[in-house]
Amino acid sequence: MPRTKGYPEALDKKLADTRLYEDERHPEFTKTVEKLSMSIPHMCYQCGTCTASCPSAPRSSYRIRKFVRRALLGLEEEALTDPDLWLCTTCYSCTDRCPRDIAPTDVIMAMRNLAFKRDIIPVNFLKTVQAIYTTGHGVPNNDVNRAARKKLGMNPEPPTTHAFPQYVKGIQKIIDYYELKKNADRIVKEREG
């Protein structure tokens, strides 16, 4: 899902028509998001403090307030197919300032989890998983760094899974328990061949 200007066609069409159609609403979506996020988006009165606090808002079409509204109305399709869903830096400024005690950041995280269940996910997220699966680290060691560590009188491999690779097995077991690696590999292959 490379980020492009504009939305996918279906979403573009949907956004051009701002009327609310009853058959697009899924009340169970609201409930799932609330459960996953441990938050209360149905309490939102759309004041917009969240969007005003958002570092991503001034430089994109990402509007956190819109996503909270989608959670409240149960607009699952519209929320999960919007590429802006992935522009939240999870800085929690909106959460700190929300006058209704909602955690919009956690609402976004819940929606991202639900999107992944439908294979909607940017590849870079999956690549982090693949790196952790192989080495235990999302940002693994490299030769330049090994040389620098040596010069500092440290072990070239830090005392993590790098120096103790026998621990990687446990990590793989946890990830496999949820079949995450399998799904990640499949989606990356579908996207990149």
Binding site: L87, T89, D96, N113, N141, T161, I171
Partner: protein, 296 residues
């Protein structure tokens, strides 16, 4: 001497080893011994991993917590992202029975169990806490005063936010890190929109680099306005975004700032008399030379 299991994370040991090395040495001078947490992994990255599945994120972070529980030591760490994963998962699992049971079901497959017997701390908060170290002790440990330098502070996001779940007080205008910079003899400098995110988190750096750098660039503009000699932070991921990010900003936007970016532990190391070589400052994307010339 208080002992903590030192949770390294990824970016400090694998990109800025000077920050790791400085943490051991500076902490030891302040009465804190950092022990290796053998077999620890990525925390895992709260933005990238948590976005895929919070459930797996809990289980993976719990594995790291179990390693420290086996050592019977509290965890100390030096990265805000790690703090989000390790502190928050520890907190959530301690308070949600159902969640803990679910995680333990998975951990059983690798013969581990989350018990909830330890606490998690950021090294910076241990340094600031007067009952453990405190600003006065930091001041007393200074050998090379950073007098005459103007230093700005970046708090980052996941250490103090969300405010209601943490214990740091205000997130609109905190000043405790400035106090710690002041203790080194430097002048802490205020700048516009200090609490703005660095732009790297939530997987955005990988998803849309230009968008993420644009946020960083806004911070850089505000920092330039304040005419600072260096920026200090307590999160290696923010450090990466500001330090290597400046090179990317030059490539993408054609603007040059050349602002040295140092982890607070590196800065403290300098003030306690460590040499730039001992801190591997040459690994930084942006040269720290102009700043060092003012100090040394």
């Amino acid at each position: 001497m208080r002992e903590y299991a030192f949770f390294l994370g990824c970016i400090a040991p694998n990109r800025y080893p000077g920050a790791e090395s400085a943490s051991y040495k500076t902490a030891e001078k302040l009465g804190i011994k950092l022990l290796d947490l053998e077999g620890a992994s990525c925390c895992p990255a709260p933005g990238a991993f948590g976005s895929i599945s919070l459930e797996i994120w809990y289980a993976m972070a719990a594995r790291n917590l179990c390693l420290a529980e086996q050592m019977k030591k509290d965890i100390a760490l030096i990265c805000n992202g790690c703090y989000k994963s390790i502190w928050e998962v520890n907190h959530k699992l301690k308070h949600h029975k159902e969640l803990k049971e679910k995680v333990n079901e998975v951990l059983k497959t690798i013969d581990m169990e989350f018990k909830g017997t330890i606490d998690v701390w950021h090294l910076a908060e241990l340094f600031y806490d007067p009952e453990i170290v405190g600003v006065q002790k930091i001041r007393d440990s200074v050998k090379v005063s950073l007098e005459g330098t103007r230093i700005a502070v970046h708090y980052g996001c996941h250490l103090m936010k969300p405010r209601k779940e943490r214990h740091f007080g205000t997130t609109e205008h905190p000043t405790w890190l400035e106090e710690m910079v002041g203790a080194l003899g430097a002048e802490p400098v205020e700048y516009r929109n200090k609490m703005l995110c660095c732009g790297a988190g939530g997987g955005v750096r990988g998803y849309d680099l230009v968008h993420s750098l644009d946020i960083t660039n806004e911070k850089m503009i505000n920092l330039k306005e304040a005419r600072v000699d260096a920026l200090t932070e307590v999160c290696p991921f923010c450090q990466l975004q500001f330090d290597r990010g400046q090179i990317e900003i030059e490539e993408k936007f054609g603007v040059k700032y050349n602002l040295p970016v140092l982890h607070y532990c590196e800065l403290l190391g300098l003030a306690q008399g460590m040499s730039p070589q001992e801190l591997a400052l040459d690994l930084h994307g942006i040269s720290c030379e102009p700043f060092l010339q003012k100090v040394l």
